[in-house]
Amino acid sequence: MPKQVYDVIVVGSGAGGGMAIKTLCEAGLKVCCINAGRRLDPAKDFRNHRKPWQMKFRGFGDPAKRSESVGYMDSEWVPGVWEHEIRYTTAPGTEWTWPRCWAVGGKTNFWGRSSARFGDIDFHAASLDGYDVDWPLTYAEIAPYYSRVERMIGVSSSVQNRPSNPDGEYLPPFNFRCLDHILQKGAEKIGVPYLHDRIAQLTVDHAGHPACHYCGACTTGCDTGSFFSTPWRFLPLAEATKNLELRTDALAKDILVDENGIANGVAYIDRKTRQEVEVFGRAVIVAATNVETARIWLNSKSRHWPTGIANSSGQLGRNLCDHLYGESAYGYLPQLLGQPSFPDSVGDNTIVWMPRWQNLRNPHEEKFIRGYSVYPGGGCGEYPWYATRAEGFGSSFKREVKRRYPTPVSFTIQAPTLRLDANFVDIDPEVKDAYGIPCARIHFQWDENVLKMWEHSKQVCADLLRAAGGVVEGSGNSPNVPGWSLHDTGTCRMGRDPMKFVTNAFGQAHDVPNLYACDASVFLNCTDKTTTISIMAFTLRSCEHLLEKFRRGDIKRA
């Protein structure tokens, strides 16, 4: 039997893989997408408005399995969707919490939906403050791609006229809640921004999907596709072209190369049969997440690529950056004590944000370089977490819990680390996963700069809360463990110089012209913004670059 050859093999189906299969299939290419996990059924695998009393452990999870949980999203609401079987390791001294959703659609099934654009302040940060290097492109070059992605997926926000967080093409924003008006006044008093977040969640019907019904269960899967996820949006469009073959439970092992060291396929493990399978294509897009893409490329060793495919620069797996997350302040708003409850968390999202305001005019104004953002939140939630902080018991305690219900507020920092030589991903020389594939090993520490941001944010958020008439009760003792944000970047950084960068400005490997990385691995660092919408915008640009190669005949159709 002659071996089947596809035009493009896409590894992964999250934000990058989803955008890739949609774009390439709609352009008429034959695509095989291999995905490490199974296909979810929203009716079975999502929360579907279940309430805690319909759950065996009321949503708190089986205490006997607590140690196996990989983070807050790995919950009783959506059992069996977070990866537990495939291992990764950490170097001595590294802590890394890494919740991985490898089902079809990846983390887009359960993501936080915040969708701000990167701007020139991010792309040219090195020119401004002298640290590291600039990105190999300008905002003007990527802006049209952001616009197209926003029109495709629907992003709700407002026009804010701040070049440091450029405006996009938005649906009407989520409304401010009582707590937002109060905190915004406090923010005004201390001179920091308090604005609508950019959320890939529909406030009006869009792209064939209904507006949000504000059930508050977003991070346990949306029933109606009212926020962007690959399975609700891009996968049906790709499948409708009949150009897509989706292989599930297909764990990518390495990239196959021809006699010239050019990519010609992917070897994967079929997790159901435990057999190794090879699938061939004219081009390969790896969109497996920052760490996994590095793992696959580093494990792709051959005569041509003795240290991993496309690694002539030696930079593959290096430059690991992450977002520091943590609770900069928490407390309550006494103004709202005893007021009737209000649906504050029905969007279950970051309705508002405080986009980077530091070092905007002068890159060295603060004790740290670059800048961070903050997501405020609070109000009447699904569960009164603050209750045990109220003293006493009996009717007075019960009344106090009720009185405080609308009042709690908290501030979450999102701060980018700087590129350091010490932070990287390599292959563990000893440990293999359940299928015999050598594991990714993570080396990571917070840097001094990001820890200064953390300290700074604790002061600012406490000041803001007090200025708003609120009571500060505390802050997180330390930031969350690295990896927690799921916004890590950098293992296949893009840049002009093939000696210093793994990929070019299109995510195309310098060494292997038919191999692309389409995830956050190509980003130079995290910025103060989330990564998902940028993954989609950059992937769209990469795919059109690849399509042009097919059109010109640089890469022949299969």
Binding site: R50, Q54, H181, Y383
Partner: protein, 202 residues
């Protein structure tokens, strides 16, 4: 109940607008699940057989949960079956088991020493007087650290068990009991600092 009608109408409206999504896989099942009435989610047997606690221990746990969240003008831990939840969670949580037994023993011994009787044999007022120093920082007494730990563990489990029931949701008027047609908006936009709100409802 008017609120329920509103919720049902709202659900129908949402399902009508959601019809656009019906061509996507899983939608029919989703609509089916949504139409389920969640009111009957928590059915409790007439008499409960504790899984972890002995009968006398369970009676003590039951009493403590009722003292922490009492039935007063609204239903409390008793109606919400909180003691059953506590027993269930402790039965599944080996880390909590020994401290629970230790705490129960401590509390009874403590009551014997102070008042000559086990906790359950005390009057309601006496029981409260024993718990007060455990529950309030200002009233803490030396030598009662084990008791304070036990009380805060029971209080935590009681809160967990109460506010995750429909009774608990209703107690705080949890907005997740309803669906909303539009992005809910603050009703006091003429008073952004919220300095002139109506007096507290409770």
């Amino acid at each position: 109940m008017a609120g329920q009608d509103l919720q049902r109408r709202e659900m129908l409206r949402i399902m009508a607008t959601a019809a656009a999504a019906s061509k996507f896989p899983g939608f029919a099942k989703w609509a089916f699940i949504c139409s389920h009435d969640s009111q009957d989610g928590h059915i409790r047997p007439e008499s409960y057989q504790p899984q972890f606690f002995s009968t006398s221990e369970y009676a003590l746990i039951e009493r403590l949960t009722e003292l922490i969240i009492p039935s007063d003008t609204t239903p409390g831990a008793k109606e919400a079956g909180v003691a059953e939840f506590v027993d269930f969670m402790v039965a599944h949580d080996t880390e909590r088991q020994y401290p629970m037994r230790l705490g129960i023993t401590w509390l009874n011994a403590h009551c014997e020493r102070l008042l000559g009787k086990a906790f359950l044999a005390l009057s309601g007022a006496q029981q409260v007087s024993v718990l007060e120093p455990l529950a309030h920082k200002a009233k803490h007494r030396e030598g009662e650290e084990d008791g304070r730990k036990f009380f805060s563990a029971i209080k935590e489990l009681t809160v967990m068990g109460f506010y995750t029931t429909e009774i608990g949701y209703k107690e705080i008027d949890n907005p997740a009991l309803k669906f909303y047609a539009k992005s809910p908006a603050c009703p006091h936009t003429d008073d952004p600092e919220h300095k002139h709100l109506p007096p507290p409802k409770w």
